[in-house]
């Protein structure tokens, strides 16, 4: 019950933020030259002025900007995200189609980054300033500094073109229809390279944070007490240090869930995955306002819910922080 109350309060508090974000994006897109009809003409390679006028009327672009904004918000109140001009169907269903690949990719690469960040962070902290630490830190720096599109392309060249171990792109195999567990394996094999590409950059951040936070906690009094009790080092680390050192990591995962949604435009393009990032990019280029606002809305909801879960995890890791 307490959790439900908390969820309700959280949601209520985020509504003003959400509305401000939506209005902001709406106005920003008005500053971009050209509208969806111009974008359509660009794509068609021509069109006459009468057609353009007719299309503008059809998309409701002949109305004044405040009216358009008003209409949009009023529709949103009725939970209607509107109609996508590039896809010719409701925005809600367009987004729903794109959500599974994005969420799969996001969860997979965040888990990958989190898990290996944790492991390498701990190893680095335990061997601080010795070779494991230097090696891990250097690798982390390289991963962090390399642009993800290059990583992605190189991964395709090595694993798909030369070794031919993994598919170079797409979400699943089109040639053969698979069902059940085979389909799961097929999708998983398509997601290995994108997950690694997206995950490596985040891995670098996690391992730095984990290392720092481990080093800090290792010097605290209660760790000395634990050691004085005669516990061996592995026990000290797993039972006493890790739990407290995890707090900054959990904070970070909450923050990065949002970044991952946007950060995946590049990875989705390189691996031709049908995700939200590419959809957002396309709707900006095509000036498809409804779709873009829909994505902002859904992403904001995702970020809010991830942060809510993070708060719950805090309370679990450190009982001193109550979920109130």
């Amino acid at each position: 019950m307490r959790i439900l109350g908390l969820a309700g309060r959280r949601l209520a508090a985020s509504i003003p933020t959400l509305i401000l974000i939506l209005i902001g994006v709406f106005l920003l897109l008005q500053f971009a030259p050209g509208d969806t009809v111009d974008a359509m003409m660009a794509q068609m390679g021509g069109g006459d002025a009468a057609t353009a006028r007719e299309l503008r009327k059809f998309y409701g672009l002949d109305l004044s900007i405040p009216t358009q904004l008003g209409n949009y918000l009023w529709r949103l109140v009725r939970l209607d995200l509107g109609f996508s001009s590039i896809y010719g169907k409701p925005v809600a269903s367009v987004i729903l189609e794109r959500l599974p690949p994005t969420i799969l990719l996001m969860t997979a690469s965040l888990s990958f980054a989190f898990f290996f960040g944790l492991v390498f962070g701990v190893i680095a902290a335990r061997g601080v300033n010795r070779w494991p630490d230097t090696l891990i830190s250097t690798l982390g720096l390289i991963f962090y500094a390399t642009p993800s599109f290059w990583f992605g392309l190189m991964a395709i060249v090595v694993f798909s073109v030369y070794l031919q171990w993994l598919p170079p792109g797409g979400f699943e195999d089109i040639g053969t229809v698979r069902t059940g567990i085979w389909r799961v394996f097929d999708i998983a094999s398509h997601l290995v390279l994108p997950t690694l590409t997206l995950g490596l950059i985040f891995l670098a951040i996690y391992l730095r944070i984990m290392r720092a936070s481990m080093l800090e906690v290792l010097n605290l009094d209660y760790v000395r007490t634990a050691r004085a009790k005669g516990l061996d080092e592995t026990r000290v680390v797993t039972r006493h240090v890790l739990r407290n050192a995890l707090l900054p990591m959990v904070t970070l995962i909450g923050l990065q869930a949002g970044t991952m949604l946007g950060g995946s435009v590049v990875v989705e393009s390189v691996f031709s995955l049908p995700g939200l990032g590419r959809l957002a990019y396309e709707s900006v280029v095509q000036r498809d306002l409804n779709t873009l606002l829909g994505i902002v809305f859904v992403s904001a909801l995702l970020v809010i819910s991830v942060n809510f879960v993070v708060d719950l995890i805090y309370a679990r890791l450190d009982p001193r922080i109550t979920a109130g």
Partner: protein, 538 residues
């Protein structure tokens, strides 16, 4: 590029298509090459998804590459670039040019089993080509009615003379037929059939997963005997060009049409035996790089300044160093690939001459001021291809050398069209002019005055010339092909003299295709055609 290999492929391709068309077995064929193989899946790179797939209402390569396999046109172009009947069997124009009669092929059915008749042609022409189709609405402006005395005859009635050779060269692109029974009710633009097209073509639409792929399968009831060969075509949506090149190498793609790969990847793959990289089969999709002048800028309204700018840019150097084999020096709005209308290179040209450029500017009264600057300009490059981006940087550097600093302002597609063709917020603009086999289709609109504000790729320069207007209008209704050609030669001469737009580079799209493909690139607009004779060798 391996020229010997290309030559052999072109010859075998021509041989097979001729043999199939004549429907005879040439004893030499077995000797010359393998027998066509049925079956196989052909994977095509689809770089930019469109909003719909029906070529009757949108004329663009992004639609033809898919819709052109599913729906068919009245006529297409053969290997020599001459009109050849597809859904139309024969045609005839009245001497006054106001009536064109098409005899349609009998016994063709739509993919849903309904018969194809002249009523479909009438409906498509009057409701789609004339009202919605880009360039179609201009071409068919004076079309008053299509009469259908019987199911196999469609008579096009024009208010003004329609040159038959113009119509026949425009119809391959602007002559796709849609089924009346699927479109007669409701708004054509919003019809769901646009995203699951139904046609008479060799391939039947199966599935479209937005952002991922489109599938079409063999039409078992196709009207051409023994066609098609392929079982299935899959178009894969890949927005990243480098990733598409990698997928070609991994064997996931067979064909990357219309220069969809980067220039460096094209150069690299052309050295790979597994692929053929060539401009062949794209002659019908020629384009020129432009430099568009805004006459609202006082300096640019002076013809000496426009000529000076042209003289200041070393086009051959640019082509050699940045575009390589895939481009050549242009001589005006009608490219050399257009055998019917190309007037030859003897029209006013502006070869690189920096001293002359400086002299012309001095003469026009724009002497270098402080720091050697004469005046500065704003250049808007279109975002359609990397060649435009390179070309705009080259313009910037070249003009900088004669004392005209250039500021490059980049926009995305919608933004570029809005700023150049609607708001006229540019000094110089550069993009592509697409030549569509006859200058009246999409070329003369770049020069004819009186274009409505906001119409993209038209004369929005603030420039008007009564003589040019008259030449354009005369040519558009001239029925005699010889006189028409002469009128267009005169047109090129006039616009090259006045130079409201400079078109100094000619390009043809580059095809990258697997070396296993047979009967490919055998017509001037092959990427857009139905691929009924395409097959894959093992």
């Amino acid at each position: 590029m391996d020229l010997t290999r290309l030559e052999i492929n072109r010859r075998t391709a021509l041989l097979t298509s001729a043999a199939i068309a004549a429907n005879v077995i040439n004893p030499m064929r077995a000797f010359a090459q393998e027998t066509p193989r049925k079956g196989g899946v052909f994977n095509v790179h689809y770089a930019a998804e469109q909003r719909q797939l029906n070529p009757s209402i949108q004329a663009s390569t992004g639609v033809y590459i898919i819709g052109g396999k599913i729906q068919e046109n009245l006529v297409d172009l053969d290997a020599n670039g001459q009109p050849v009947g597809v859904l139309a069997e024969s045609w005839e124009a009245s001497p006054d040019g106001k009536t064109v009669t098409f005899k349609l092929r009998k016994g063709i059915t739509w993919h849903d089993g309904k018969p194809f008749t002249s009523a479909d042609v009438e409906f498509t022409a009057m409701n789609m080509w004339k009202k919605i189709l880009n360039y179609g609405s201009t071409l068919q402006l004076f079309l008053t009615a299509v009469e259908t005395p019987d199911a196999e005859t469609a008579i096009f009635k024009y208010e003004r003379p329609m040159p038959l050779n113009l119509l026949l060269r425009a119809l391959p692109d602007l002559g796709y037929i849609s089924a009346k029974h699927l479109y007669e009710n409701g708004d054509i633009r919003q019809n769901p059939t646009n995203l699951s097209p139904v046609g008479t073509g060799p391939f039947k639409f199966v599935k479209y997963e937005r952002g991922q792929y489109i599938i079409a399968d063999r039409n078992e009831n196709y009207w051409r005997p023994n066609a098609p060969y392929l079982d299935r075509i899959v178009w894969r949506v890949i927005t990243d060009r480098s990733a598409a090149a990698a997928q070609m190498e991994a064997g996931e793609l067979h064909y990357a049409p219309f220069s969809s790969l980067t220039i460096s990847d094209l150069a690299r793959l052309s050295k790979d035996k597994r692929f053929i990289v060539s401009t062949k089969g794209n002659e019908g999709n020629a384009r020129t790089n432009t430099l568009e002048f805004n006459f609202r800028r006082k300096e640019l309204s002076d013809i000496k300044v426009r000529r000076a700018i042209a003289h200041a840019i070393n086009v051959p150097f640019f082509i050699d160093n940045f575009l390589g084999d895939f481009a050549k020096l242009g001589t005006g709005p009608i490219p050399s690939t257009s055998t019917d209308f190309y007037p030859g290179p003897n029209t006013p040209q502006y070869p690189y001459d920096k001293a002359k450029a400086a002299a012309l500017l001095d003469e026009a009264g724009f002497k270098p001021g402080r720091g050697g600057t004469r005046f500065s300009l704003k250049l808007l490059p279109a975002p359609w291809g990397e060649d435009i981006s390179l070309w705009s940087t080259f313009i910037q550097q070249s003009l900088g050398e004669i004392g005209i600093p250039v500021d490059i302002v980049r926009n995305d597609g919608g933004g570029f069209l809005k700023q150049v063709y609607d708001e006229h917020a540019f000094d110089l603009a550069t993009g592509w002019h697409q030549y569509r086999n006859d200058p009246a289709v999409s070329t003369t609109v770049w020069y004819r005055s009186g274009q409505p504000k906001g119409a993209p790729w038209t004369n929005q320069w603030g420039w008007e010339d009564k003589n040019v207007d008259k030449t354009i209008d005369d040519a558009a209704t001239e029925v005699d092909p010889v006189k028409r050609k002469a009128l267009y030669a005169q047109f090129v001469k006039e616009v090259n003299t006045e130079l409201p737009v400079w078109m100094p580079i000619e390009q043809i799209f580059v095809t990258t295709i697997t070396a296993k493909a047979r009967n490919h690139s055998n017509t001037p607009r092959w990427g857009s055609t139905s691929w009924h004779d395409l097959w894959l060798s093992t």
